[in-house]
Symmetry: C2
């Protein structure tokens, strides 16, 4: 499988990722600060090889809407902390009971369940501490709403309740737009809000965020079937093993590929000709469409 | 044991509790809204008979510093949601593994672990959504810092790590000031910040919050030894059964009673003659000092 063609991330993503990683390191308390076990656990999870897609999207949205100062960085890191918290809690034995994440033992396997529970809580909390630094209550509310019971948490519950059931296209779309989509949608909107974007800009990036958010999760489902385990850092087939509801499970692989491709195209179209700097948005969307891990 | 003399809560607390309960009902999504299981679980926990001490303290601090509009209510409810989230996660099998809370089955016993985990996460999140409504980033940051790894979460980790060990007075004070004290301290400071209080006022209510926060947890430890199970809604002796570090375990019951009484007196002294309306603060402190549940 190693001759599979991999799309290199655009230069914008590579450069921003480096900057994001520096801010992550700055914002998270050092491992030798009490409670050490918790800070070590947090650093273990946050440094486990995430693509930093969400922080990069926050930056791209902020810049696309004319934002140009450092106030975006705490917000960009905040969404990555939220993403990491959701993965840690999702992996726990009472949820998906996963042993591996990105090729490494999951946090509760590496440490223990109590530390994983509290490290997730700590990341959830630190995200809002960072959001508070932006001084923008609208952006803070945007994040809270994206990940609450009207957003990500609704998706996680629906995902659990759907295990082993046959779903309709409407149901699987409901799950995916919430479980993964709402945080990505919220992420670009936070970038726009912090840049003081116009209603037109916000409308365009919201549409973009919704499309790529859903596409991202559909591609996740596809990769769990036909991805390269080495590149994914985890065995494929875990959705099927866990009786997870997936897009290919409802409409088939071919239709899923087509839907994801269409969503990516639509996302690009929505922002092109509206926001002042759509280029990075376009590149990120194409990268998501072609990702292999 | 039923002839034990119980101090009735001051009228201020009774009246404010009613108002708080109305706002809690308004701010929490209805049980028939998706995801129903999560909203039902949240309502089960939040309506399990809490004293609403923290929201009342937020109100008292706000009013003592001259605040007089409704912006305090989302913040007052937020600290109660945080308190409830911390209890739900603390009760989980990987933490204290408690079956009863206020005389009722704990949330993971009533529903299941996954629902309890996510309901805690949802309350944590909703608290920040409500804080965002205050429009005050300083108050939002105050809450995040009070309950993060420099505050409540440090206390929860220290509490776990101390199980079965002999502690010094310094160590048990470290645990109690964080596990319980930091949220109470943060609560009164949020009231002050939202009222736009002067530095002198903030300093006074901070000192008050620190003293009653520590006193509250010492009295909790005392009640777990000599309280009335019927009034507490749970069996006594759970700390000893769980090998929990307690104040009486370190300095004895008599010394614990004296320390709690001294802290209450000092708290009252700190605010008297400084803030413009110290009366409610004084009453609440005396109530905490005499509480039987």
């Amino acid at each position: 499988m190693s001759e599979r063609v991999v799309m290199a991330p655009p230069l914008y993503m590579v450069q921003k990722r480096e900057i994001i990683d520096r801010f992550i390191d700055e914002y998270i308390p050092p491992s030798d600060q009490y409670p050490q076990a918790l800070h070590e656990a947090i650093r273990y999870s946050i440094n486990a090889g995430g693509k930093r897609l969400r922080p990069i999207l926050a930056l791209a949205a902020y810049e696309a809407c004319g934002g140009n100062n450092e106030i975006i960085y705490p917000a960009a890191v905040a969404v990555e902390l939220i993403h990491t918290y959701s993965l840690i809690h999702d992996d726990l034995p009472c949820m998906d009971d996963d042993d591996l994440r990105r090729g490494q033992p999951t946090l509760h396997k590496k440490f223990n369940e109590a530390v994983a529970l509290l490290a997730g809580d700590a990341l959830h909390d630190l995200a809002f501490e960072l959001m508070a630094r932006t001084g923008n209550p609208d952006a803070i509310r945007e994040l809270a709403e994206a990940i609450g019971t009207g957003g990500m948490l609704a998706g996680q519950m629906a995902d659990m309740e759907a295990e082993g059931r046959n779903l309709t296209l409407e149901e699987i779309t409901f799950i995916h737009t919430r479980k993964t989509g709402k945080l990505i949608r919220g992420t670009v909107r936070i970038g726009g809000l912090l840049a003081g974007a116009s209603t037109d800009y916000i409308r365009a990036i919201t549409g973009y965020g919704e499309k790529i958010g859903l596409a991202f999760q559909i591609i996740d489902d596809i990769l769990d079937i036909e991805g390269d385990p080495e590149m994914l850092g985890k065995p494929v087939g875990s959705d099927s093993k866990n009786l997870k509801a997936t897009f290919p499970g409802v409409v088939g692989l071919e239709q899923s590929r087509q839907s994801a491709g269409k969503l990516i195209d639509e996302a690009i179209e929505i922002v092109t000709g509206v926001v002042s700097q759509p280029d990075n948005f376009v590149q990120i969307a194409r990268f998501i469409g072609g990702r292999q891990n």
